[in-house]
């Protein structure tokens, strides 16, 4: 096996892993703070992708320069997070905090079913393909193979910025520290004057926006068809569970691990590439049942 092949697989895996990191870190953040596993998270990814693709097609249709797509991606992600994510949190999730986890899973599953069909109604079932932003950035040559700068440089850079930004936000800003405080002890944080309801809402919006951003970035690289969201939720859960739910830096490591594993499989055993994320997850959980980066908690009687 030639060493260049491994490098090429690694570069592919980097781009892919960065993309699933963006989605998985949102899922993990929401779980860490709200304690809810959001089954509808994949739908935010899909809606982000569709809004971005529709926007880019409209922009290029009007003859505007393709670089406008990049600021639009961010606007689209925030809009999806605030509108769709905000509505889901205020109307539904707010009623079920503190109830059984199973009930919370069911409510977000219901949201998933509604959002999946809503996409079909709004965006239709025809495939969307809007690769203008990717073409605009051009290509770069690595070992005689042309890579798009979009996948090799832009997506990993965004993922890195999100990772560092989230860390700084949670550790250094007042609101970020309020989020951490609510995660550790909601009652104590409320007693200190932190508005826990607002913290929950904003955390959910941030998580949903990150998923939508992942979707927006992916929209330039593939054609969008109904059902992309239902695949993504499984994949991002695999990443979040491998890392340990609620672990942000861990999600980056796990996303990279799974991204690399998958792209190596694409080169060497293409029929099994979709299995790799699950195999990695099951292997990790067999050895460390709480995920790679979680410490064991004591049980309450």
């Amino acid at each position: 096996m030639p060493p260049e092949m491994l490098l090429l697989a690694a570069l592919d895996g980097l781009a892919y892993g960065s993309l699933i990191f963006l989605v998985a870190v949102g899922l993990s953040l929401i779980f860490g703070v709200l304690g809810v596993l959001n089954v509808a998270h994949g739908s935010f990814y899909a809606i982000g992708a569709y809004v971005a693709a529709a926007g880019v097609l409209a922009l290029t249709g009007m003859g505007l320069p393709p670089w406008l797509a990049f600021p639009f991606f961010i606007v689209a992600a925030v809009l999806v997070g605030v509108i769709v994510g905000g509505l889901v949190e205020t109307l539904l999730l707010r009623r079920i905090y503190g109830k059984e986890e199973v009930l919370q899973l069911l409510v977000t599953f219901a949201v998933f079913m509604i959002l999946e069909d809503a996409q079909k109604v709004v965006f239709g079932v025809q495939p969307y393909f809007a690769n203008a932003p990717m073409n605009w950035l051009g290509t770069i040559e690595v070992f005689g193979i042309f890579y798009t700068q979009y996948q090799l440089i832009l997506i990993p850079t965004v993922a890195l910025l999100v990772l560092v930004g989230l860390r700084l936000f949670l550790r250094r800003t007042a609101f970020g520290r309020a989020i951490v405080a609510v995660t550790q002890d909601r009652d104590a944080a409320t007693a200190m004057g932190i508005d826990a309801t607002r913290v929950y809402l904003i955390t959910f919006i941030i998580g949903a926006s990150l998923a939508a951003l992942g979707g927006a970035l992916s929209s330039a690289t593939t054609s969008l068809t109904p059902g992309i969201g239902s695949g993504m939720i499984v994949l991002s859960f695999a990443v979040a569970a491998t890392a340990g739910l609620g672990r942000i830096e861990g999600a980056a490591v796990a996303a990279l691990l799974i991204g690399l594993g998958r792209s190596v499989a694409v080169y060497f055993a293409p029929e099994f590439d979709v299995l790799i994320p699950y195999l990695i997850m099951v292997a990790v959980l067999l050895i460390k049942p709480e995920g790679l980066f979680t410490t064991v908690q004591t049980r309450k009687v």
Binding site: V111, V234, A241, L275
Partner: protein, 313 residues
């Protein structure tokens, strides 16, 4: 208990008579019974406070066992195919159960989902063996050695399935009242106390998990027989979610619930196909939310008029 028997007997009588009055309903009712069986498996797990978004795995596995055996003309006989496929699902559930009973709640639900998606992907990717996304045809087998015409075959399968469903429902009701079933409820309310009593909660949940796999497998085996065709879609996680939907819609208060839910599900599917073919999952989603927030004991709870006890409260 008396009310449960009355509702169950009423439902049974209606199901016995209905296909005789309207032959077109036979297959739909058989499908409802199969999905009801799978949802009954979900009910067993819900009693322990656990939900699986992956029981499509056992449903599909059993259906594919039937398809492979029937295609190979190996035991091309309903009375062999159904028990073998159901037992095979039970074995698979025992294997997967060893792993998943170590987890609860979110992890339990999502690991089941992930494992079923592994199977789904394998069914789609291993085209040369499984026929890929197109699936496999299931030639109609003999019943007790007799080759039947389609309509007769369907009618017989319906009554056999109905008989099996009644047995399964009575068996599960008995199990839920047994010490094992009571321990199952204790997993939901307080697992640590259960362990202090000297009961292994993993063993209790393992038993329930294998039972739920057998029930889903039984449903899947019959589905393969009546539809004459199996596809990977049977294992897709949204399909597994439909079983959960049926269980919640019907109500987890009694073993009749999943079958009520399954009949209602077929009615919704029928109407949605006409009035909202593109958005029928959204209809299910809205209904699920309405049930969770306003009628947490499902249809069965509405009929018995009991206060919410099973879910949420």
């Amino acid at each position: 208990m008396a009310r449960q028997l009355i509702i169950g007997a009423g439902l049974l009588a209606a199901l016995i008579i209905f296909p005789l009055l309207s032959p077109w309903s036979t297959v739909i009712l058989t499908v409802a019974l199969c999905e009801g069986l799978a949802a009954l498996g979900i009910l067993v797990l819900l009693r322990a406070g656990q939900v699986s978004f992956g029981h499509g795995l056992y449903f599909a596995f059993s259906a594919y066992v039937v398809a492979f055996m029937a295609a190979a003309r190996f035991g091309h006989e309903v009375l062999i195919l159904v028990p073998v496929a159901t037992a095979a699902s039970g074995l698979l559930a025992a294997l997967v159960g060893l792993f998943v009973v170590r987890y609860r709640a979110i992890f339990f639900g999502m690991l089941n989902l992930a494992i079923s998606m592994v199977f789904f992907s394998l069914l789609e990717k291993l085209f040369s063996i499984t026929g890929g996304a197109d699936g496999k045809r299931v030639p109609r087998p003999t019943l007790a050695g007799i080759s039947l015409e389609r309509a007769e075959f369907e009618l017989w399968i319906f009554y056999i399935t109905l008989g099996l469903a009644v047995l399964a429902a009575l068996g599960v009701a008995r199990y839920l009242l047994s010490p094992g079933g009571k321990a199952l409820e204790a997993i939901k309310s307080n697992e640590t106390r259960l362990e202090y009593l000297g009961v292994s909660s993993r063993k209790v949940l393992f038993g329930a998990y294998v039972l739920s796999g057998l029930l889903a497998g039984l449903g899947g085996a019959v589905i393969a027989l009546v539809s004459g065709h199996v596809t990977p879609e049977l294992a897709y996680w949204v399909r597994s979610g439909e079983f959960v939907f049926i269980a919640i819609l019907g109500g987890v208060g009694g073993v009749v619930g999943p079958f009520l839910g399954a009949l209602m599900f077929q009615i919704i599917r029928g109407y949605a196909a006409v009035y909202a073919p593109e958005t029928w999952h959204a209809v299910l989603g809205v209904m699920l939310l309405v049930i969770i927030f306003f009628a947490p004991n499902g249809l069965y709870g509405l009929m018995t008029g009991r206060k919410p006890a099973g879910t949420g409260q």
